[in-house]
């Protein structure tokens, strides 16, 4: 609760109260207990303010999601209007409502999967869990109950729920959580800088990864492998842009073994890479896709799985034998979320936001690459308005810093001191500003980052973090 100003003396701050009642998601819990939280109080445009009134540029768009920025009145109005008109109705058992239908139509029109129907959820995680369940259901309906295994990539990020967390390829999401589940396999991350052999060209690297996938499918038995899931550009795993030709090579293997390609557009969707969807930017031809985050610019929680008509026809046929299609959430197609998402997509169209993101994305990528010669920077990478700098101990050998030095986290915190919120993914510092950023905003983000990076270099040279 918020106290009247008169009562704030001798009352605990929000950060004081936080540790007693909140269990934080995806957090270094001992560090949180030691340092306390950063309490964000309000936002406007690309900026947010903390409880002490300090301003920050949101350089990571919240969690890669606030595409239209903060304080968009039209979205607040859309929510208010829908809440007043019909605050809740559902899509179970034949019920429907206008906002869900209108949003599904819009996604059918612009989405990366041709002729697709939308199954709505509330997060990228549940969308990707739905993907797995739908594909299992699909293969059961087609009479091939063995075809269930899902392949993803190490360092891929697809969420944290049981199936999505199994597909995620990052150790903190597996170890001690008894994941991945048995039906999940992982292959090499398409990151040439880290995974390429000495002297190996990108083309050779791509061929090797395609061969690895082919060998894995053959070893498992193609009749047991259902799908391959991929983010067009890997996000939380370090902003990894696969080499040119990677997806066509992978796609060839998948086609050969009748393995579906699930396109995880949760971060890349809606203009992030400078194209409407990441699949177009990266040359993917997905069978199904998951969208979330920017779908509503994170004003409300909503996700969607885009499923081709042909697959839905199979579900309908199966229903004749099996009865009810038993998958759905209370908030599937929530009318308020759908109304807000629809308005967000309309605003993106009105403002020609994808073209804007393409234009400023090129400016951003050029600006970010100016750090390529910085003594701490091993690789600068990215596409559109998604980017990263990987910090290394030795630029020549690409040797990483010891994990326990926490160089990436140190840099992230210095950037925070200078008023820009970025995200350390290990020692990779990630950028994902709201799509509404201007060129001068980008200059400001990179200038603040530059100061944080220089301070990090001084700290590293002074032996900071070394035990």
């Amino acid at each position: 609760m918020s106290l009247p100003a008169e009562a704030t003396v001798f009352a605990p701050s929000t950060s004081d109260r936080d540790h007693l009642s909140v269990l934080h998601p995806t957090t270094d819990l001992p560090a949180l207990r030691r340092d306390g939280p950063l309490v964000i109080e309000r936002g406007q445009g690309i900026r947010v303010w903390d409880e002490d009134g300090r301003e920050y540029i949101e350089g990571l768009a919240g969690l890669w999601c606030t595409a239209l920025g903060y304080g968009v009145e039209e979205l607040a109005e859309a929510a208010a209007e829908q809440i007043r008109k019909l605050s809740f109705s559902h899509l179970f058992a034949g019920r429907s409502h206008e906002p869900a239908v209108a949003l599904a139509e819009k996604l059918r029109e612009i989405g990366p999967v041709p002729n697709a129907k939308a199954f709505f959820g509330t997060s990228g995680s549940d969308a990707n869990d739905t993907q797995v369940k739908l594909i299992w259901y699909y293969n059961n309906a087609l009479g091939r109950p063995e075809k269930k295994k899902i392949i993803s990539r190490r360092r891929g990020y697809h969420g944290v729920s049981l199936a999505a967390g199994s597909m995620t390829g990052l150790p903190p999401f597996h170890k001690s959580f008894d994941l991945p589940l048995p039906q999940f396999r992982h292959v090499t991350c398409p990151h040439h800088y880290r995974e390429g052999e000495p002297g190996e060209t990108e083309a050779e690297f791509t061929a090797r990864l395609a061969a690895e996938l082919d060998e894995l499918i053959r070893a498992e038995g193609p009749e047991t492998v259902a799908a391959f899931i991929a983010e067009p550009v890997l996000g939380a795993g370090g902003v990894v842009v696969p080499p040119e030709g990677y997806y066509p090579a992978i796609q060839k293997v998948l086609d050969e073994h009748d393995v579906l390609l699930i396109d995880d557009e949760v971060i890349c969707g809606f203009g992030r890479l400078g194209t409407p969807f990441g699949a177009e930017a990266m040359g993917m031809r997905p069978d199904t896709a998951s969208v979330a985050k920017a779908l509503s610019s994170a004003y409300v929680p909503i996700s969607a799985v885009l499923v081709p008509d042909g697959m839905v026809d199979v579900f309908v046929e199966a229903g004749e034998r099996w009865g009810v299609f038993g998958h759905g959430f209370t908030y599937t197609g929530h009318p308020v979320c759908a109304a807000v998402a629809l308005k967000a997509l309309e605003l993106m169209e009105e403002r020609d936001l994808f073209a804007h993101a393409d234009r400023v994305g090129r400016y951003f990528q050029a600006g970010l690459r100016r750090f390529a010669d910085h003594p701490l920077v091993g690789e600068v990478r990215g596409r559109g308005l998604l980017g990263a700098c990987e910090l290394v101990a030795d630029r020549g050998t690409r040797e990483a810093f010891p994990v326990q030095r926490g160089v990436g986290t140190y840099c992230m915190n210095r950037c925070l001191d200078h008023g820009v919120i970025l995200r350390a993914l290990g020692d990779t510092v990630a950028f994902c500003p709201p799509l509404i950023v201007t060129e001068s905003d980008i200059d400001e983000i990179l200038e603040r980052f530059g100061r944080g990076l220089d301070e990090t270099l001084a700290w590293v040279e002074a032996g900071g973090g070394a035990s």
Binding site: A5, E6, A7, T8, V9
Partner: protein, 259 residues
């Protein structure tokens, strides 16, 4: 064992004027002084509240009289102080306790008004009561002035700058007068209460009081008004004759705790 002096450890028979007695720390102070045998002149802007405090004291067989007093009114202060001295034949102890809390941001629309109210009640009133009481205190054989400041005069909480400024001013007033009046044997001290269960903090939910106290104070709890009253009583004892000019935190260790 060395012989102790015969300095009195009691306020029995002394007359104490205490402002803001309808609730909280003022009420507790009035009750404590009366219980210790002092004649208590209790004032408050809340007539019913101060009468209730006095009724409670009298029911216990102790001496107190109620005055309705808005300390923002300088004329009223002079009138009440004279009446108190007249009623009890003098004045030995003055406790400036009455207070208000008016928070708000520095750029808020109501800041100017809140500043005026705050400074008037928390700071200007103190010098006015002191000036009105001074002729009588000078005749006392153990004259004591205690101003209630706050830990907000030692540190500060955001959005309460007027309050913090006024309370810091109370500490300065205390120090200035301790030096100025010291040659006359009048001691002037102040108490800096921390988180205390009073009307000012009653809107903070109990759960939040506990979080605050556990995170910020050494004793891990809010204080009670009576614990502040005991600090005040101590400074008013004839035996506390060599203590002057202090700002005594009664805060459960709020101001000394670092982590």
């Amino acid at each position: 064992m060395t012989e102790l002096t015969t300095l009195s450890r009691s306020v029995a028979g002394k007359t104490a004027l205490i402002t803001g007695c309808a609730s909280g720390m003022g009420r507790a102070t009035a009750k404590l002084f009366a219980a210790e045998g002092a004649n208590v002149a209790a004032t408050d802007i809340n007539a019913d509240g101060v009468r209730a405090t006095v009724a409670e004291i009298r029911a216990a067989g102790r001496e107190a009289t109620a005055w309705t007093l808005d300390v923002g009114d300088g004329d009223a202060i002079r009138r009440v102080v004279d009446e108190v001295a007249d009623r009890y034949g003098g004045l030995d102890i003055l406790v400036n306790n009455a207070g208000i809390s008016r928070g708000g941001p520095i750029d808020g629309d109501e800041y100017e008004v809140r500043w005026q109210e705050t400074v008037n009640v928390l700071l200007t009133a103190h010098q006015r009561t002191i000036r009105a009481a001074l002729p009588y205190l000078r005749k006392s054989d153990s004259p004591r002035i205690v101003n209630i400041a706050s830990t907000e005069g030692l540190g500060a909480t955001a959005m309460n700058s007027a309050y913090s400024a006024a309370k810091t001013g109370v500490i300065g007033l205390t120090r200035g007068l301790a030096v100025e009046l010291g040659k006359e044997g009048i001691t002037v001290n102040c108490i800096c209460p921390g988180p205390i269960r009073t009307a000012m903090t009653e809107r903070i939910p109990e759960e939040h009081k506990q979080i605050y106290a556990r995170r910020r104070t050494a004793l891990r709890r809010y204080g009670d008004p009576e614990e502040v009253a005991h600090g005040t009583l101590h400074l008013c004892l004839p035996a506390s004759s060599f203590i002057t000019g202090v700002a005594l935190p009664v805060d459960g260790g709020l101001t000394v705790r670092r982590a």
